[in-house]
Amino acid sequence: MKSLAELKAIRDRAQAEINMRKENPNAARVLVGMATCGIAAGARPVLNAFVEEIAKRGLKDVTVTQTGCIGICQYEPVVEIEIPGEDKVTYVKMTPEKAVKVVNDHLVNHNVVSEYTIGTATR
């Protein structure tokens, strides 16, 4: 190690992973429905797309968690996003491509992607 900059580079790289091991009450939560219905409808690639996109953008205060069935199996894969201080948003019929857009628009810029939400889909 010849400089502090080198140390900092390693630290920044390793920190994202460590942050996942701490409880963070201020974190935004991405809840992916992973009951049998969700998994059958393709929730796993959606979950992975969220994890990868969040890592790629280096978002620190976001956790991705699976959750069970919320009872709207025909709309799976269902993803709920809770940002502290904002309304909970439920996205339905998600795909990995949609997931990328939700991360960019909703988690980063706080603009709800209304065309994917349950309100739009059931109208």
């Binding site: 140390l7 996942m20 992975n48 994890v51 699976q66």
Partner: protein, 602 residues
């Protein structure tokens, strides 16, 4: 990138209850389900709640699974990691409240703790240097080398008020200042990891859970005093600690955080491991250095102190593992941050190893000045079986017993010394009403008699004679005069021994004599052991009117001391039994077997 992290405790406690096999099984099950790219399994250091091991924590949910069995692993993988349904049945029950799950940090055991020395234990993978660096590891060394002069480092240590965590509580900054002030062609930095007190295991947990913190702090010490070589003296009985230390040293070398020209500042520092063979006396600083030199581990008279002539007769500074674990954070966060915790003369936090008659056996770290009552009743969860607290033993064989009347004492170095105990390394053994204080004193004396190196007479012969006196008392051959004789022998040993071992060995006797004299008097005058521990003072008896004559006890008795009488209690059908006390070996088998509670000991 993983979406989920499963932390499995790999400390010695959980390892001995098979946590490593659980981690293996987890990886196997995850691979089977195709989740191994999404879920990361990490073996960490000790979480501290050893009584509940094997421990597993799943993030980001923070679910705390306790006493996990290998058979539970498939369920956790399928339900929790695959489907996101937390297996409530396997959670630590204190975290489950009605329908919600409490954060681990809000449980009684963790809420009152403040983790400084143990901050990375149970968080990072101790075998990965990147994990340590992610937690600002080696940043303190970088700061010291590039922004501070050695004198500034020492001044920071002095200002922080950090005192040695090995037991004696000598100010660390002062130790470094003395070593810096002595010019020599070579100086050394040593780390005392020869944790020998029965019941203390915080140093082991730091080495197993966060080995890099010790390396970093030793390098900082090396820079401060002008040393280029460090030695870690660790006992061979800590195989996991030794292994992880070696991995850490190799990784630090690879990154150039040890070796030549660290951070391009021209500072060289290297560390070697030396294994101790398990002699208690080698935890004493001069004996430790003698042992590193390859000689028989015996203490030598001081002065000269190690700061003048230590290892290989060169100026040396020696600190304990837990002391080192505090240092990088003091450098990074400043002396004021550290000094803001604790009491006036004892700053920071202290790790205690809770053991004995306590519900939450394990490691706790609390700010100095926390009361004994908080540690035992709140964090430790009280005494099992609703029994009454009798005493707490601090400082291991060098410390003393603290009775219930001092439960509200604020623990720091000086308060403990004032009541005849000492901080020691932080072992805290809780005793309840079924413990005999004379027997406890005898237990610790047996330990010191075994471990006395024999170099000086007061310790070698004095402790032996003291033990013989205690044995007399527990056998019912004591007299009140013997107690006075014992007391004066204690003071003689304390005043005349060469090293800390002998100087503190009589403490358990002195403090029990002081606080529990009535118990000693019961032994020497009434020839009774009130706690019912000393076998020679006990007699097992059958209460003849309660005896149902079932003969179970007579069949359990290994020496045939129980026989039938011709007395038939009123209202009973069969004759009662009796115990022949001349044959009885007081094993208690009869009492355990009696279903009618007709056998008593007194």
């Amino acid at each position: 990138m993983y979406r989920s992290n499963v932390l499995v405790c790999g400390g010695t406690g959980c390892t001995s209850s098979n946590s490593l096999k659980i981690a293996e099984k987890l990886k196997e099950e995850l691979a089977l389900k195709g989740l191994d790219k999404e879920v990361n399994v990490i073996t960490t250091g000790c979480f501290g709640l050893c009584a509940l091991g094997p421990i597993m924590v799943v993030y980001p949910e923070g679910s705390f699974y306790s006493m996990v069995k290998i058979e539970d692993v498939p369920e956790i993988v399928e339900e929790h990691l695959n489907k996101g349904r937390i297996v409530t049945r396997l959670l630590y029950q204190e975290t489950v409240q009605d329908d919600t799950i409490k954060s681990l940090n809000k449980t009684a055991f963790y809420e009152k703790q403040k983790r400084v020395a143990l901050r990375n234990c149970g968080v990072i993978d101790p075998e990965k240097i990147d994990d340590y660096i992610a937690q600002d590891g080696y940043a303190a060394l970088g700061k010291a080398l590039t922004e501070m002069t050695p004198d500034e480092v020492i001044q920071t240590m002095l200002d922080s008020g950090l005192r040695g965590r090995g037991g004696a509580g000598f100010p660390t900054g002062l130790k470094w200042k003395f070593a810096r002030g002595n010019d020599a062609d070579q100086k050394y930095v040593c780390c005392n990891a020869d944790e020998g007190d029965p019941g203390a295991f915080m140093d082991r947990s730091v080495l197993e859970g966060d080995p890099h913190v010790v390396l970093e702090a030793m390098a900082i010490a090396g820079y401060a005093i002008g040393a280029s070589q460090g030695y870690i003296y660790v006992r061979a009985e800590y195989p996991i600690a030794v292994k992880r230390l070696q991995i850490a040293i190799d990784q630090a070398h690879e990154y150039g955080l040890l070796g030549k020209d660290i951070f391009g500042t021209g500072f060289d520092f290297d560390i070697k491991i030396r294994l101790g063979a398990g002699a208690f006396v080698c935890g004493e600083e001069t004996a430790l250095m003698t042992s590193i030199e390859g000689k028989r581990g015996e203490p030598r008279p001081r002065p000269p102190f190690p700061a003048v002539k230590g290892l290989y007769r060169k100026p040396t500074t020696l600190n304990n593992v837990e002391t080192y674990a505090n240092i990088p954070q003091i450098i990074l966060k400043g002396a004021d941050w550290f000094a803001s915790m604790g009491t006036e003369k004892s700053k920071g936090t202290k790790v205690f190893a809770l053991g004995g008659k306590i519900n939450h056996t394990g490691l706790v770290e609390v700010p100095m000045g926390t009361t004994l009552r908080t540690i035992i009743e709140e964090i430790g969860g009280g005494i099992p079986g609703g029994k009454k607290f009798k005493a707490a033993q601090t400082g291991g064989p060098s410390g003393g017993c603290i009775p219930a009347e001092h439960l509200d004492i604020e623990i720091d170095y000086d308060n403990l010394l004032a009541i005849g105990s000492m901080m020691g390394s932080g072992g805290l053994i809780v005793m309840d009403e079924t413990d005999c204080m004379v027997d406890i004193a005898k237990f610790f004396l047996e330990f010191t008699v075994d471990e006395s190196c024999g170099k000086c007479t007061p310790c070698r012969i004095g402790t032996k004679r003291l033990l013989e006196m205690l044995e007399k008392i527990t056998k019912g051959q004591g007299t009140p005069e013997l107690l006075d004789e014992m007391e004066s022998l204690c003071h003689y040993i304390k005043n005349n021994s060469l090293c800390g071992l002998g100087q503190t060995a009589p403490n358990p006797v002195l403090s029990t004599l002081h606080f529990f004299r009535d118990e000693y008097m019961a032994h020497v005058i009434d020839k009774k052991c009130p706690a019912g521990v000393c076998k020679d003072l006990l007699e097992y008896k059958i209460v003849k009117d309660s005896c149902m004559g079932c003969s179970l006890c007579s069949r359990k008795c290994p020496v045939g001391a129980i026989s039938v009488t011709d007395y038939i209690p009123e209202g009973k059908k069969r004759p009662a039994f009796k115990i022949d006390s001349s044959k009885c070996i007081k094993c208690g088998a009869c009492m355990d077997s009696c279903k009618f509670k007709a056998i008593i000991k007194e």
